[in-house]
């Protein structure tokens, strides 16, 4: 069953009662919540995802109203992962963003089967471009723009590399845009699906952009890593690209990986394999059009290794 096959009222009811089990990439996420803004977000952004009303789930997420005055006065959302509450309650108008963060947190803290890169990944012609970056580097903006221009969305936040196969999982979850990039993208890609702006979050204003149906329908196809591109948004800068030596790319990527030390030798092998098979670049941009043009001309990976 797909989420879009459930009528809006039924979706709300089932979320608030026994909950819904939604498949994203290798995971089944069971979510239970009475919040209508979460139900609306699920209906808008997860419409093409498969779901079940019962069965096994990897993560049990509950987002509920706290049992105190905050039920009525400045309403809040409390969140639970498998009955433990990892964060403090947050304002309830942020509930959908909280749900997304909670799902990221669930994957981050319980899944050591994958090397997890904090970064977006998009795919075209069989090769994936990984955009690892700290917040503020414009990785989500770039990812959303690429997706609006025909690249397949694998993930916006967590790139999961399987140590066994070296392939990247497709989660196809919504892209989280922050602050100025929301308006930029709404102008740049008016045909995409955008959610309401969520104000005053820890990261400022957030709005989500939905994954294209094609990305979601190809969720079972893991992708071959092709390029590793460290983006940097710099206002007014002209587009500049510099190939990155593999050693530097390795050091730069490994220093930011949260679960890399835990994976030990297996993590090291997965990372060297990833660097070996990708062409690596530093990419500074300010114009999305110029950035799109450069990405569209990317050659199949492998040339860089020969050049070096």
């Amino acid at each position: 069953m797909k989420v879009c096959q459930i009528e809006a009222g039924d979706l709300r009811r089932s979320l608030s009662k026994s909950g819904l089990r939604i498949r994203t990439g290798p995971f089944i996420c069971h979510v239970q919540t009475p919040f209508e803004n979460i139900a609306d977000g699920v209906q808008l952004f997860y419409k093409d995802f498969t779901c079940e009303s019962e069965g096994f789930a990897d993560f049990h997420l509950k987002l509920i109203r706290p049992r105190n005055l905050h039920r009525v006065w400045r309403p809040q959302v409390s969140c639970y992962l498998n009955d433990d509450s990892p964060f403090s309650p947050l304002p309830s108008d942020q509930a959908f963003a909280v749900f997304e963060s909670l799902l990221n947190w669930s994957i981050y803290t319980t899944t050591y089967n994958y090397l997890i890169i904090h970064g977006a990944t998009v795919e075209r012609n069989g090769f994936a471009a990984i955009l690892p970056a700290p917040p503020g580097s414009g990785k989500s903006t770039l990812c959303a723009a690429l997706v609006s221009r025909g690249w397949r969305l694998l993930t916006d936040e967590l790139t999961l590399v399987s140590p066994a196969s070296g392939l990247i999982s497709d989660l196809a979850r919504p892209i989280s845009l922050k602050n100025n990039s929301i308006d930029v993208l709404q102008d740049y890609a008016p045909n995409e699906v955008f959610g309401p702006k969520i104000y005053n979050t820890i990261k400022g204003t957030i709005a989500h952009m939905g994954p294209p149906s094609d990305s979601v329908s190809r969720m079972h196809e893991a992708a071959v890593p092709g390029w590793l591109i460290f983006p940097k948004y710099q206002a007014g800068a002209s587009t500049s690209v510099a190939p990155l030596p593999k050693g530097q790319a390795f050091m730069r990527l490994s220093s930011g990986l949260v679960n890399y030390p835990v994976l030990g030798a297996q993590g090291f092998e997965a990372l060297t394999q990833l660097i070996d098979r990708t062409d690596c670049y530093n990419f500074t941009y300010s114009s999305l059009d110029e950035a799109m043009a450069w990405f569209s001309e990317l050659q199949a990976p492998g040339r860089q290794a020969l050049e070096q």
Binding site: A57, D58, H60, V262
Partner: protein, 361 residues
Amino acid sequence: MILDPTIERALTQPQALAELKEPQWDQLLQSLRRLGLLARIQVLLAERGLLHAVPAQPRMHLESARIVADNEQRIMNWEVNRIQRALKELSTPVIFLKGAAYLIAGLSVAKGRISTDIDILVDKADLPAVETALLKHGWEHTKVDEYDQYYYRIWSHELPPLRHRERRTIIDVHHTILPLTGRCHPDPKKLLAQAINLDGSRFKILAPADMVLHSAAHAFQDGDLVRGLRDLVDLDDLLRHFGVEASFWTRLLQRGQELDLTRPLYYALRYTNLILHTPMPKAVVEQAQKHAPAWLTGAIMDRLVIHAVNDRLNGWRRFLQAFSNWALYVRQHWLRMPPILLARHLLHQMFHRQKLRTDLG
């Protein structure tokens, strides 16, 4: 009810897990995660070649937990190596305790066990030299408050915990295995005398019976079963491992007497046998029975232990469980210090926190 039947079966007959279907794994995984036993179950299944029988989705979580546990072991192995290096120049005997000892000795209890804190035991006279050597090699005090330092040094059985400034790992340096203020007084000299040397070095681990007694003392005398079921799983594994040799059991009872640990030993044998069906000679059970507490205390202790080893219970039983855990916490303090000292300690903690709050406010 003693232990949740699914958890009991998972630990005592892991082969039965091969028959579980995905939906049955759902609850079990959540419980095992909360109990800290996911990696342990992965190990039990892997050793029996049954991992492939677990459906892919739950198997992912078991394997993930194993990766985490293996990493903890790697950290601990390296830490043992660094500690040996830091204490290289001293000529004093150093005994690795608990998790580190299980790992060094290659005991099955170490597999899938999660903990990176290291405990060592040295002669009281050697404490200053050991402390100096560790401080010189990058360990730092975590308790910088004057009262904490005073409390540990005067009343405790260990130095205030030290943390390595780069690796952030913790080491507890003990001079005996139970607080000086407590009811049982195992003589550390006796432990040191029987300790086993690690291949030709000055570093040692406790003799088998002493190792079990220390684990029992930690679970039932000093700690308050804080690690819950994991404490019992440790004891069960150690007893099964060493218990193969018949002479071990006589030795265990004898050492229990010599080290003044007969009561914790009684509890350890009672609860591993009752809850995890640990095999033990009938004669040993009868001998240990002599050190059982009065009937009422025993009955209360049964209830407390049963609540402590179970995963979160539901409904009204959750309140009972919360009360039990509180009672165990009180019991732990009661066993640790005489009433006057306890009162003084609690008063200090209370006013100290108050002061901290005012300072912050």
